[in-house]
Amino acid sequence: MGIKTVKRHGDTLRDKLYIPAIVSGMKTTMRHFVTNIKDNSNLITKSYPEVQPTDITDRYRGVHRLTKREDDSISCVACYMCATACPADCMFIEATERTDGVDEKMPAVFNIDLLECVFCGYCVEACPCDAIRMDTGIFSFVADQRKDFILSKEALLANTRSKDFSDD
Amino acid sequence: METKIVSKRFHIPESYKLEVAKKHGVYGSLEKLFTMTPDEVITAVEKSNLRGKGGGGASCGQKWRYMPLNDPRPAYLIVNADESEPGTFKDREVMDKDPHLLIEGIICSSYAMNIHTAYIYIRGEYKWLADRLNTAIDEAYEAGIIGETLMNGACDFKLDIVVHRGAGAYICGEKSALIESLEGKRGHPRLKPHQKECEWYFGDPATVNNVETIASVPEIVEFGYEAYTKHGTPKSPGTMLFALSGPVKNPGVYELAFGHKMIDVINTLGGGMKDGKKLKAVIPGGVSCPILTADEVNKAVLDYESMWDIGSTLGTGGMVIIDEDACMVEVAKNIIEFYHHESCGQCTPCREGTGWIDTILHKVIHQQGKLSDIDNISDVCGTLNGKTICVFAPAVADIIGSIVVKFRDEFETYILNNQGAEHE
């Protein structure tokens, strides 16, 4: 295999002086500075939290929710496919017998540790029952204790599809 | 046209009674029987080439040879009277009109195989025939014909005959399922043995024969095999009870020598088609045989070999006639409903396949059929054929498969029109 020698950059006097490069950089910075000072309506940066984002799309993976059947009961049958698919190992499920005749099995415990979750969406993909979704549009969750970041079954069921999203 | 051997006393009023039947020659073969050795009897049956009349058509004499000789275990004769094949109703004529002929046949066969206990396994629904048989057997015991000795001591040979009623399962007409049922188990066919051998009843040797086969034996014993082979064709000698059903003028059971043309039988004995309708198809030997179209019926000859040659089988000789008014989709649905109901459920292909075909045809009849359903039925028939323990599933594949293939146009029209192609 032959070797091709490439000429090294930055060997010229102009390059070694650095000043021209700094000046051309500053020129770009100043142009933006002036434009933004004159008219700040085009600014990308938002004054969050006073200004909330409006560009969250239907495909945005927010905090999870557990879906419900037509009779308003939980869809999840505790098959553990989500926990199996989860790369962060952040889903903690305990199954129990379901006695209302709708199905055989349901989760007694269904916890998701949001601090461990990497929001990859694999759980949604893995679910054979469409029982877990990440379409709440919730991107912000705050708490002052670690345990409060663990969402229980009840909390997950209480979450709903974001109103900003189109109907499914 | 008829040749009456088994049916010779059918026309006599009250021929089921011992005194009437005796006047007309029943038990006449026994005198000669007692002069013969058992081996001579089997040889005579072998030479007569008497074939099993239950549908298989295997040589009866060969079957008897499979019984082990000089075996210390008791042996059993089991008469298969579980006649449940749709379109077949010949055995019941024998049991109804001439039960003593059957007893005579049992005596001859038991004598030949040194059997002292014979069972008649009768279809559960044939309650009145079981009663008739029991009355006849009681008469025979009372008259000393069977029991501790035969014919009041004419032969020192103990023989007991027991009638056992089935519980109404078609599959118990399959010999190994019949034995399972007789043993008190669920009627599931057994795996076929790897070499030719007799059947086993509670581990003891047994042989299973159809009613008509057994009823044919006295003739061979009394008049010799030569007299029997005079009738019929060289390969299918003798006679068979053919049953005609469907829209013919004279449906019924007729005893014929093998070798008659099917269309002649339908037109002469059957009296031709009712109301001048056109013949559309015939299922030749009980519904388990591939269907014959009108063209094929014109060519068909009633013996085993000729029927195989045209791609069907003689089966039990129960011909189901179908006229031009019948819709073949409904014929198929009717037949598959029967099989779906009667599959014993042992082997997967039959258990699930019969139900599947039934579901597809149900859909077709309820106007939800698709053209692909026809291929699906053929596909399932393929899976049913030759992949199960007994011949139930291949029979389903034969009849349903043949209807779908031979009347495919009609299925297609039916599905496309969303209603019966030849519906009224």
Binding site: C79, D89 | G345, C347, T348, V380
Partner: protein, 478 residues
């Protein structure tokens, strides 16, 4: 040997025993022929029709479970034709199957799933609404749950109750695709071996009520061990799992095929004895009822043992492994303490039967006898009255006989939290039966080895390690 014949399997010439069942031979060759109804313990039934192979010279594919090996036989287990046949039959198995894998405990070890993944993959040609419905979640008694819809009617379970336990509780009811397995009316499963039908069931029709919904099987880890429920020492698989933020836990025992010991099965009591392993554990060392560190307890024991060797009786038990017994026996021989293995409390005549269960409900009495450890009652009682220091090692003899400890110094080594603790001067927890390695000799003199796979968060020391610590502490003092 003349019994060996040459046959060709998938183009490879091999030697096989004449007359052997072909499917058995294929298993031995590591050819996994799909099958439901065949099981080596139950023999051929031939109903599932899955194990079909092509045999040159026969018109149709043949079921390998009912094909004897013959000289010159040419067998094909692969190829388009035979795979199509299998796929067709599998399709039929599945048309009335509810495909409720998410709620089914068998998922992950289900033959239907395996075969579908191996060669199924077809578009469904049957609508779900036309599937035949049957009963789900039927409690058959004896810890077995039945789901009639998932059943493939292989009849392994009915054949097990007919031919193995001879209890005949199960039968097939109805016909065709309405056929279902059930107990006879008014009857429940009653055999002590009933739960074996859960293992026998190739699909999720029969599941264990005890294991029901507890864990998905693909999370479980497994190691080979023996059951300590009686002196038969049945070979088992121990299925356990250390879940995140939890401790290692045993979820179930399964029988392990072992023709020297138990064959294919284990009894229900043995199977459920995994609960004893998890329950009622002794965790803390104590001296005179006060919790101390292991180190302190060990020093205390070493002190007592070195002070009065001639006045000390060590009572071991048939629950200890051969290695542990040998270690303690050697110790007693070296320093003059006395050893007994007296343990009549483990005998229970009512437990024995004519299948697997024996009357001695301890796993290693034969090993104890082989080491000539004295079990004599008279000798034991004599020693008990003489000796002032009693060291009880994993032996429950004193459970309801604490009055015998009067005026004695008692040292207790135990994996279980027992009442004896209250009467003991020094208490030291030890690793339980399945938490340690060791070998055990069963009543038929078969020695089996356990290599434990359990990884507790805070493992308790094994008797061997603790005893060695005591020995070295004693030596320091001397």
């Amino acid at each position: 040997m003349s019994n060996i014949v040459n046959i060709v399997i998938d183009g490879k010439e091999v030697e096989a025993e004449k007359g052997a069942v072909l499917i058995d031979y294929l298993f031995k060759q590591d050819i996994d022929i799909p099958h439901f109804c065949y099981h080596p313990a139950l023999g051929t039934d031939g109903n599932c029709r899955m194990c079909m192979v092509e045999i040159e010279g026969s018109k149709r594919p043949q079921i390998s479970c009912d094909t004897p090996v013959k000289e010159g036989m040419v067998v094909r287990t692969q190829g388009e034709n035979i795979e199509q046949v299998r796929r067709d039959i599998l399709e039929l198995e599945l048309i009335n199957h509810p495909v409720d894998c998410p709620t089914c405990d068998q998922a992950g070890e289900c033959k239907l799933q395996d075969y579908y993944m191996a060669g199924g993959f077809y578009e469904s040609r049957l609508e779900a609404e036309s599937k035949v419905k049957a009963k789900k979640a039927v409690d058959l008694g004896k810890n077995v749950m039945l789901d009639q819809e998932r059943c493939v009617l292989c009849t392994r379970c009915t054949r097990f109750t007919d031919e193995i336990t001879h209890t005949n509780e199960l039968g097939i009811f109805s016909r065709a695709d309405h056929s279902v397995i059930s107990t006879f009316p008014g009857q429940e499963l009653e055999s002590d071996y009933s739960m074996n039908i859960v293992d026998l069931c190739p699909v999720g029709a029969l599941t264990s009520k005890d294991f029901r919904f507890n864990q998905r099987v693909w999370f479980l880890e497994s190691f080979e061990a023996i059951c300590s429920g009686c002196s038969k020492g049945c070979s088992i698989h121990v299925d356990h799992k250390k879940e995140k933020y939890k401790d290692d836990q045993i979820f179930r025992f399964r029988p392990r095929e072992d023709h020297d010991v138990n064959g294919y099965f284990i009894c229900d009591d043995g199977r459920l004895s995994y609960k004893d392993e998890n329950d009622n554990r002794l965790n803390d060392a104590s001296i005179n009822q006060e919790t101390v560190s292991t180190k302190e307890a060990l020093t205390n024991i070493a002190d007592v043992l070195t002070a009065n060797p001639n006045d000390t009786l060590l009572l071991v038990s048939p629950f200890l492994s051969n290695e542990e017994l040998a270690l303690i026996k050697e110790y007693t021989l070296n320093n003059g303490t006395t050893l007994s293995g007296y343990s009549p409390q483990y005998y229970d005549e009512s437990f024995a039967d004519d299948m697997l269960r024996t009357s001695d409900r301890s796993p290693n009495r034969a090993g104890m006898m082989a080491l000539r450890i004295n079990e004599n009652e008279k000798d034991f009682n004599e020693l008990l009255s003489q000796k002032k220091v009693i060291v009880v090692i994993e032996n429950s003899y004193f459970e309801d006989k604490a009055e015998l400890f009067k005026d004695k110094k008692v040292i207790l080594f135990s994996s279980k939290d027992t009442k004896v603790k209250e009467f003991a001067n020094t208490v030291l927890p030890v690793a339980s039966f399945l938490e340690k390695d060791g070998s055990y000799t069963n009543s038929e003199s078969v020695t089996q080895h356990i290599k434990s796979g359990i990884r507790k968060n805070a493992p308790v020391g094994t008797l061997t390690s603790l005893w060695k610590a005591i020995e070295s502490l004693s030596k320091e003092k001397a």
